[in-house]
Amino acid sequence: MNVDEREWDDQESALESLRSGNPIANEARINQYKILFAALAGQPIPALSQGFASRVALIAYLRSDKARKIERRFEYGLTAMMLAVLALAASLVSICFGTAWLRPLLSANPWLKASLLCVAALSIVVHIQREGNKPVIQA
């Protein structure tokens, strides 16, 4: 269906009249369009839920790089703290009971020694990798 220019002009006149409030020729066709456009403008549409903007802004922030960096830093800090507590506990145990209990355990189970060596090697590699990924700051 092609656009009938006369009909289109009537549609636009009705819209213009409705927006400006200026009356136009009382023609049935234009009046019908005015009723229609008034109905369209007043058509109820459900509203967005309350607090939509603040919720979206919060999600956007949580997904941002800045928030991720803070989260990562917090995770590293927490891990470091737990390791420190573990090391402290191990030291206290060693001070109180000596290391005599560890020797028979390691000699009895060579796989335990190998596992501990693997863990140590892995943590060194991860540390080196992390250092390598740090951005280079140029002067």
Binding site: Q32, L36, L40, I59, S64
Partner: protein, 188 residues
């Protein structure tokens, strides 16, 4: 300074509350576009959220070549379009019933517009008829009539040619008038 630029720059520098203000200023347009296409409240809200998360992610790519509302509108439109494609829902119907022009010519000139607008039954029928339009026409009607955007702006948002938009608007309005005139005929 252009208010769009000030707001975008504030949001990019993570100024407190800036992005929330940006969302609040443009959520109406975004909601209208998506809801008119999707016609499902919960899904429309999720898509609206997705739109603004995309806006947040790609805001640094906004070059101020078009108004911010048009840029956000484009994103909202493409998000809604993808939803329709994923669900294989048609955006336009193939068999649009077009009423013969002679049918709508038989209503007299003496229609009292205010009285009709107060007639909730007629308005209800008109709203139903608008709701039954194909999603694309519904959206174009909303952007043009409710949001008051020009055909050029609607074209920027939807990527449709101006002539195509004009044709869709014309057909939708013509079809709705036919429905309305039939109703007025019944009520007179």
């Amino acid at each position: 300074m252009n208010p769009d630029r000030a707001l975008v720059e504030a949001a990019l520098t993570n100024a407190p509350g800036a992005f929330e203000r940006l969302v609040r200023e443009h959520q109406g347009l975004c909601w209208h576009i998506i809801y008119r296409i999707v016609h499902h409240r919960e899904d429309a809200e999720d898509l609206c959220q997705e739109t603004f998360l995309r806006v947040h992610r790609y805001l640094h790519q906004y070059r101020f070549e078009s108004a911010l509302n048009t840029w956000i509108g484009q994103i909202a439109y493409s998000v809604a379009l993808r939803y329709m494609e994923r669900r294989r829902l048609p955006l336009i119907t193939d068999t649009e019933e077009m009423t013969d022009i002679s049918v709508v010519e038989n209503v007299g000139d003496g229609v009292d517009i205010e009285a009709v607008c107060m007639n909730t039954e007629i308005l209800g029928h008109a709203h139903d008829a608008i709701g039954r339009l194909p999603p694309l026409q519904r959206t174009l009607m909303t952007l043009y009539h409710v949001e008051g955007l020009s055909i050029a702006d609607v074209s920027r948002i939807t990527g449709l040619a101006g002539g195509t938009i004009k044709s869709y608007l014309f057909r939708a309005r013509f079809k709705l008038r036919a429905t309305l005139s039939a109703l007025l005929g019944e009520n007179q």
